[in-house]
Structures are given as structure tokens and as C-alpha cells.
Amino acid sequence: MSTLLLASGFLDDVWSFVQDNADELAAGLRRTLQVSLIAILGASIVGITLGAARAYRLPVISQVAAVYVEVIRNTPILVQIFMLFFALPQIGIRLDAFTVAWLAVTIWGGAFNTENFRAGFEAVPERYREAGAALGFTRLSTFVNITLPIGGRIALPSSINTYISIVKNTSLMYVIAYPEITTVIFQIQALTLQTAEAFTVLALTYLIIVWSMSALIRLLEAHLALPEARA
């Protein structure tokens, strides 16, 4: 009983924490979503372009893309953020926190997405491409009309996983003091000392976003499954 009272008292504290800081929290959440959306869009463009270059083994671009993918995947994203924000000014390149925030997760997500889409495009059966050629499609229109929609669907679950990681990684912008939700909540708790309430709200925020995106994967997987895979 006393534990129950304690728990309900804590929930009240959490709720009043949200009400007291509603404006800052909303602004932080908006920046988290904004940076995530830009990066998801950017990583999709990078992933589809370079993934196609890898799958079709386009000379030079394919090799450069391979190096990009390996460097990004085999180094910590936090060090990449440090490089962009703290090291580049040494050679006169000064990026503001917002630019580094979306750029870092776009570069990171783009590398993972290149692999997702490469695998997706390579999984499209050869006979589909041959059918396109037989219908008189050029290589480009075969890609746009056949390989991209089918391979994109195959790559969808793994690319959404990458997008989930992008959202989670925006929390790292705390180190460059970009005021997304993690930075905002950390600063509020440093002032108000409502540590437990603050981190409960922070955790719930991410869990709601991440769990919604995971649910979206399951929904899309059922909805967009290829007719052949369904059988």
C-alpha cells in the first residue's frame, strides 16, 4: 500500500515536471524530431544512390562508397561528431551545432542505409531485370520502375531499423550542447534537481518514439510484403 502511494506520488511529480517545463520540453522534442526527419530523408537519398552504385558496381563511385561505408561503420559515431564539431574548426571549417547535429546522423545513417539498399537491390531476382530489358526499358528506367520499388521494399525493415538508430543517436548531440530533448531535460534537471522525474520523462519520450517506429515496421512488413514472399 505504501509502495503504491509512493508510486502514485512519483507519477504526480513526473506529471508536474512535464507541466512546469512544457514549453522547453516541446521545443526540445521538436528539435529532436526535426533533426531526425532531415537525417532520415538524407540517409534515404544517400542510401538509395550509393546502394545502387554498389549493387550495379559502378566504377569509382562503388569503391568510394565502399570505403565510406567501412569507415563510418567501424568508427564510433561520437568520435565522428567530435571530428565535425571540435576538430574541423582547426582547418577553418566552423559548423554550428544544428548543422553538425543533422549532418552527423545523416552521414552515419547514410552508410548503414547504403548497405541496407545494396542488399535490397541485389535481392531483386535477375529475371525481373531481364523482363525490363525485354520490354525495351533502358538500364535507368529498369532501375526506377523495377529494381527500386521491389528492392526498396525488401530493404524496408532494415532501413527502418537504421532510422530508429538515427533517432536514438540524435541524443548524442548533448555533447555539442545542441538543445534537442536530451540536452534540454539534462539542463532542466541540473537546475531543478528533479533527477528521477527528468530522466523518467526522457526515457518515456524515446520509448514512445522507438516503440511506435518498431510497430510501424511490423505493420509495413505485413502490408508491403512481396506477393512471392507471402506464399
Binding site: E70, V71, R73, N74, T75, P76, I77, L78, V79, Q80, F82, M83, F86, A87, L88, P89, Q90, I91, K168, N169, S171, L172, Y174, V175, T182, F186, Q189, T195, A196, F199, T200, L202, A203, Y206, L207, V210, W211, S214
Partner: protein, 224 residues
């Protein structure tokens, strides 16, 4: 330690390797062992058809997999001590706990799949030989499941090694933190070497991670 290179580099290399790299490797090893032991146990228990434990393990997995590791580190390092003073940890311990929470959730999910992929006949044959639940899983099912677990565990090791850098935010002297201290010291002395130092850190991580990601890919192909 090295006799070549510019003057400023010598103490940097010494500090970053002797303190930073040592702590990074220690943290990675603890996190790998902790994540594997807890994750394999939870993942195996998840295959038992008993609703309350399954629900609890599910919640554990979804929470620690869903949270950014940075947030988990904040919870362990800043929020737990407000619950009880006995839950106050130094930065490296807090980092290790956070990495284990995240890593064990990853391992548990993979283990569940690996255990369930072992044909039912194996369970039945082991039971027929007189093995109880624990003996059956420890001596018959797990050795076979481990073959399937190996590639994702190597992949996890790569992720653990890279994610140890996030402990930098609470000041644990792992490789990135030691590098940052050196960059700041040099800046204070009027020298700018951030690109060289952070660049070298990237090279160190690449040299460790790249062979491991190749190994994971090779194991996956061989076991497929």
C-alpha cells in the same frame, strides 16, 4: 613509447594508450561478458512457456533496446543514486552497467531466435536420455545454439567497443575522454591538434573493428 613523430605527440600517445585504451578494452571486456551471460540466460528463459517471466523479460528487452545508451548511462549514473545512496557508482562502473543493460537485451533477443531454431527432436532426444531442463539446455541445446549466436556476438562486440565512447559524457577516462583531455591541454598551451588526435582515435577504432566485422561476416557465411 614512440621515438618518432612531433614533440607534442609523445605524452598524448602515452596517456591515451596507457589510460584510455586500457579502460576502453577493460570496459568492452566486462560489457561483453556481462551482456553474454545475462543475455543468453534471459533469452533461453524467454523460450519457456510461462507468461509472467516471458512478459517481464520482454519488457526488459524492449526498454533497454529502445533507449539511447546515453539515456541509460544518465539513468544509472544520475537517477539511481537519488533512489538509494547504495546505488551510487563511479563513472566506469555506471558505464559498464549501462552497456550491459543494453547489450544483454540485444543478446537475449538473438538467443531466443537461436534456441528456437534448434529442432524439437533435439529436446525430445535429450529428455529421452534423462536430461532435465537445465541439463538439456546446458549440454544439448546451447552448444548448438552457440554456433548460430557466434556471428551476432562478434557483431555485438564491435558495437560494444564503439559504444564505450559514450561513457565519455560522464567523464570516464576511456579513449575518447583521454583524447579530449589532451586536446584541451594542448589548446590551453596554444597548440591545436584536434584533427590529428581525433583522427588517430578513428584509426585506432577502425583497426580494431574492421577485422572483427570481417570475421562476423565470414562466420555468418560459413555457418549459413
Amino acid at each position: 613509447m614512440i621515438a618518432f613523430g612531433p614533440d607534442w605527440a609523445d605524452p598524448v600517445v602515452r596517456y591515451v594508450i596507457e589510460t584510455g585504451l586500457k579502460n576502453t578494452l577493460k570496459l568492452s571486456a566486462i560489457a561483453l561478458v556481462g551482456s553474454s551471460v545475462i543475455g543468453i540466460t534471459l533469452g533461453t528463459l524467454l523460450t519457456v512457456r510461462f507468461l509472467p517471466t516471458r512478459a517481464l523479460i520482454r519488457i526488459y528487452i524492449e526498454i533497454w533496446r529502445g533507449l539511447p545508451i546515453l539515456v541509460t548511462i544518465f539513468i544509472v549514473y544520475f537517477a539511481l543514486p537519488t533512489v538509494s545512496p547504495r546505488l551510487r557508482f563511479d563513472a566506469i562502473t555506471a558505464g559498464a552497467i549501462a552497456l550491459i543493460l543494453w547489450g544483454s537485451a540485444q543478446v537475449a533477443e538473438t538467443t531466443r531466435g537461436a534456441v528456437q531454431s534448434i529442432p524439437r527432436e533435439q529436446h525430445e532426444a535429450a529428455s529421452a536420455l534423462g536430461f532435465g531442463w537445465i541439463g538439456r539446455h546446458a549440454f544439448v541445446i546451447m552448444p548448438q545454439a552457440l554456433r548460430r549466436l557466434l556471428p551476432p556476438l562478434v557483431g555485438l562486440l564491435v558495437n560494444i567497443i564503439q559504444n564505450t565512447t559514450i561513457v565519455q559524457v560522464i567523464g570516464a577516462p576511456e579513449i575518447l575522454e583521454t583524447a579530449e583531455r589532451q586536446v584541451e591541454r594542448l589548446t590551453f598551451e596554444g597548440q591545436e591538434h584536434a584533427i590529428e588526435i581525433y583522427g588517430a582515435i578513428m584509426v585506432v577504432f577502425f583497426v580494431i573493428s574492421f577485422p572483427l566485422t570481417r570475421l562476423a561476416a565470414y562466420l555468418e557465411r560459413r555457418l549459413a
